[in-house]
Amino acid sequence: MKFAIQVNTSPYHSNTGQTAYQFIKAALALGHEVFRVFFYHDGVYHAFKYATPPDDELQITAQWSDLARRHQIDLVVCISAAQRRGLLCADEAKRQGKQDDDLAEGFRISGLGQLVEATLEADRFIVFG
């Protein structure tokens, strides 16, 4: 089955992002496909490159980057939700006259059209948070 996933909560306000991550890992292990993970609302906080939790805590952003690298999963962060919260990739920062380069490896920034496309492509669409 082909899944599309949306993550709406920040890593430290709720554990639904972690639930989404575990769901995706389980789905992949059973041979399902994850077409796209779309980060929206406060879910964009998962994609901050410079999040630096203590070494003995879960490295949440690194976990997603690793998942994308291993399984070629498309991790998309909504551009308007991201900019509102101060997450800018280098290109976008330049356009805005800023110096950020905040996007972690394995994520890409795009628009809501990518979310609608994912819901159209997938057999199942699940919202976490």
Binding site: R84, G111, L112, G113, L115, V116, T119, L120, F125
Partner: protein, 118 residues
């Protein structure tokens, strides 16, 4: 093509949540997909008449609901009990809505390809 039901359960002015949900609704409608909205629980406050969001620096999201018709989003459903439990009547709302009883909500959801939990 898929049919979409957006289920909104939070009150107006819950941070930017409503604005961001409306952005998804408008984008889906712009993709020419049939879109319906269900207001459940505190979501019924979205359409309460007489909101003055400018006093707290928020956007007037009820005005965006009124503009949805331009994007062919005309099907707004409200749960009768959610309205009653909050002491509201359909006349307290700024848009005409379709009222559905709680017992019929599951049946309503089954009619859609995508139930978008908001």
């Amino acid at each position: 093509m898929k049919s979409y039901l957006f289920v909104l359960r939070k009150p107006a002015h819950s941070g930017v949540y409503v604005q961001e949900m409306l952005d998804i609704i408008l984008t889906t409608a712009a993709f020419d997909q049939p879109v319906s909205i269900l207001l459940l629980d505190d979501g019924v406050f979205q359409l309460k008449k007489g909101q003055q969001p400018e006093n707290v620096g928020m956007k007037d999201t009820s005005a965006i609901f009124k503009a949805l018709e331009i994007y062919e989003v005309k099907d707004i459903v409200i749960e009768v009990e959610s309205l009653q439990e909050r002491g509201l009547n359909p006349e307290d709302l700024c848009l005409p809505v379709q009222a559905v009883y709680r017992k019929d909500i599951a049946g309503l959801m089954k009619r859609f390809d995508v139930v978008f939990a908001g």
